[in-house]
Amino acid sequence: MKYSILALLIAVALSGQAQSKTTEKLHKKYSEALSLFFYNNTLRMINQTDDKEFDELIKDIEKMKFLMIKKEEFGTDDYKKLISDYKSESFEEMMTSRHDGKNFDVYMKEGNSKGMIVAVNDSENLYVLDIVGSIPLNKVTTLFKEIDESTEIGKRIQEFAKHEH
């Protein structure tokens, strides 16, 4: 018992990097928003089918936070401010795109604390995925596909959560 607590403490201590300040601020402001938080182990647990490709994708992800915020509370100017906040945290623009009314933007931070922000913006919601760690480049498209699918799942989880209360 003692050893497992020790192991847990060490794991927490070693996972030095924190989620980005901007993300934390965003979550605090929209505390009612759907938020999902995953540690590397949680992600591995999700991989029920032992999908090797998924394993490769998540192996350097230390932790990640997913936020889903309703657009009625969050406007274009808020989005612009959010992006500039991320940029002041040394996140650099990697790719921005827009298709079928959906915006899809990727920002990345290199150096000691690696991180990636994926922000998806459609008419109803803003989705932010804040990843601490890195993703192998050739797996990035897999990740994007998963995110696209998960925004659907995110909506379903939120509806489910509403029913529970």
Partner: protein, 175 residues
């Protein structure tokens, strides 16, 4: 001495300002138009490819070519009514005189034109303009471009249109 430095700095800034891609004017006009799809990829993204491992010498060449790219901009629209009009408009907004036409491809449902811009003996921009019955697209790829590698990438990623470039060699240009 100070004057030289200031002049030098000014020159660099001016060069930076003019080293814009063809599509910028067009982009600025339609960037916020929601009926257009757009993609912008920064040099940071391309730079990441230098850290990737290559399985074959061919892949290694491709990765090296990608890492030399400075940016990619795409603007597209799927709309039967305006596609042909946009195609014509593109040629008025894009400084075509600064570019050399590389190739023109015409198929049943669309016209495709490729242009390049050379700076210092190297290809610094590849421009592709497509106008069809239902689709319009303009793509600008800029940086240090190796046409052979771009064609290879286009083929591997199944990017419709780029495979035509494989028929071109760096030396062949339309005069």
């Amino acid at each position: 001495m100070k004057k030289l430095i200031v002049a030098g700095a000014l020159l660099i800034v001016m060069n930076g300002a003019f080293a814009q891609d063809a599509i910028s004017k067009f982009f600025s006009k339609y960037q916020t138009d929601e009926s257009f799809s757009s993609v912008t990829v920064s040099s940071k993204m391309f730079g990441l490819f230098t850290n990737m491992e290559a399985d074959t010498p061919e892949d290694k060449e491709i990765l090296e070519a990608i890492s030399k790219l400075k940016g990619l901009k795409i603007l597209a629209k799927e709309d039967a009514r305006t596609a042909r009009g946009l195609y014509k408009e593109a040629f008025t907004l894009i400084p075509i005189k600064e570019y050399e036409e590389l190739m023109a491809v015409r198929t049943d449902d669309k016209d495709m034109k490729f242009f390049i811009k050379e700076t210092g003996g190297k290809i610094s921009e590849l421009l592709m303009v497509v106008g069809g019955n239902e689709q319009f697209m303009v793509m600008s790829l800029f940086g240090e471009i190796d046409l052979k590698q771009i064609a290879r990438i286009g083929r591997k990623m199944d990017v419709k249109g780029l495979e035509h470039l494989e028929k071109m060699h760096d030396g062949d240009k339309k005069h």
